[in-house]
Symmetry: C2
């Protein structure tokens, strides 16, 4: 149930309620790894939610929830910001508040926007066998990919001008890069053809230790999506 | 088209693209008023979007957009955070980052959550004449109101322990207090009966100068909602 990882000083009271395959939980694990913060991971059963999850996130009952000293922080992006603020001596995801408010606002916009990948993705893969992909769903996904690609603008990471800076938007969006193969097989959208820069960013993320350790491979994601699909559509 | 308001030093290059009745734009105007920041307001026609809006928010084409020195910041809550960071000598909405990361994370959660009021509200009022309110829609709205009421926990404002502190969640949620009458008339939900504390908070917000100047009265909201409803359902 619980995997205990070696911890940086001061982080031994971090507990993460999560589900390994949840891209929102993956954001948090990636951020914790980037910061070198240790934590106890407590895998949740969303089909039979436990007391700790219900108490920690009474409003949504969702993962991820980060407990720090017993106090729950909910919502993946709020947790990322919290980690920057509560552990200021760790590598920051966002630029410091005083240095570049505009870059911070921009990163917040794009991190939030990356959720669209998951929302649009579902419209591509949650279909009965033989059912056509809606043209609007495909068009919307292409628009989302292109918008992200334009924001990346050929940089190595979204993190900013600084060379090789993996930041807030990267941590937020990296889990979805492992779904690109699913978009291709289920929705007929080749990210490599539509947005080569974004596809290269995804491959770069996949090679990064913080991501590789915390995200399923694209093949595994596709396989799990098929299982989930059968389960949902078969009910 | 443009209303110019007197400005605090350093804010003369703020331009707000908005629509007076948009609760998301109202959040930003309330925050600007709380901070004493002047700005030029440029009302937008969402039925015929102008070039400035399209260029400033190419992804969503929505209001509000705040232009600061010509650079666009999009998404109401990102704008609120930006104002705290770009104008650090003005009264903060959130506690400073170093002082209370937990309170900041919690405020982010609840500010985001307050959007549920608008989403649930629409399910109450966007109905044909004679069409029943769905019981699930009513139940969900009551749950949302109760969750906010529990978070308020009898305080004067959401802003925090500090007496009378109007903060980030208040600025985010105050525009929806003017919709409580619409929830009552359209959805049969009396906020005063369900959640007297939250209703009193709403009345307190309505009396606050920053809110009163930037939000329609509850009667006016109800009237505009009826017009909008006829227009949408009549199409």
């Amino acid at each position: 149930m619980a995997a205990v990882e070696s911890g940086a000083a001061g982080s031994s009271d971090l507990v993460l309620l999560d589900v390994f395959g949840s891209p929102y939980a993956q954001r948090v694990r990636i951020a914790l790894a980037e910061k070198g913060l240790g934590y106890e991971r407590v895998e949740q059963d969303l089909a039979a939610k436990g007391d700790l999850l219900r108490r920690s996130n009474p409003v949504h009952g969702k993962v991820p929830v980060l407990l720090h000293g017993g106090r729950p922080i909910c919502e993946s992006l709020a947790i990322l910001e919290y980690l920057d603020e509560a552990f200021p001596s760790t590598p920051p995801l966002l630029p410091p508040p005083a240095s570049d408010p505009y870059a911070r606002a921009r990163a917040r916009f794009w991190a939030e926007y990356s959720d669209r990948l998951h929302v649009c993705g579902k419209r591509l893969w949650l279909r009965h066998d033989g059912e056509e992909v809606e043209p609007e769903a495909r068009a919307e996904m292409v628009a989302v990919l292109r918008a992200l690609d334009a924001e990346l603008a050929g940089k190595e990471f979204f993190g900013g001008e600084e060379e090789g800076k993996f930041g807030y938007v990267d941590a937020a969006a990296a889990p979805f890069a492992a779904w690109f193969l699913t978009y291709e097989r289920s929705g007929g959208i080749s990210v490599a053809e539509e947005c080569p820069g974004l596809a290269a960013w995804g491959a770069r993320c996949a090679r990064r230790e913080s991501v590789a350790a915390n995200v399923y491979t694209p093949e595994k994601v596709y396989e799990l999506v098929q299982e989930y699909r059968q389960w949902v559509l078969g009910r």
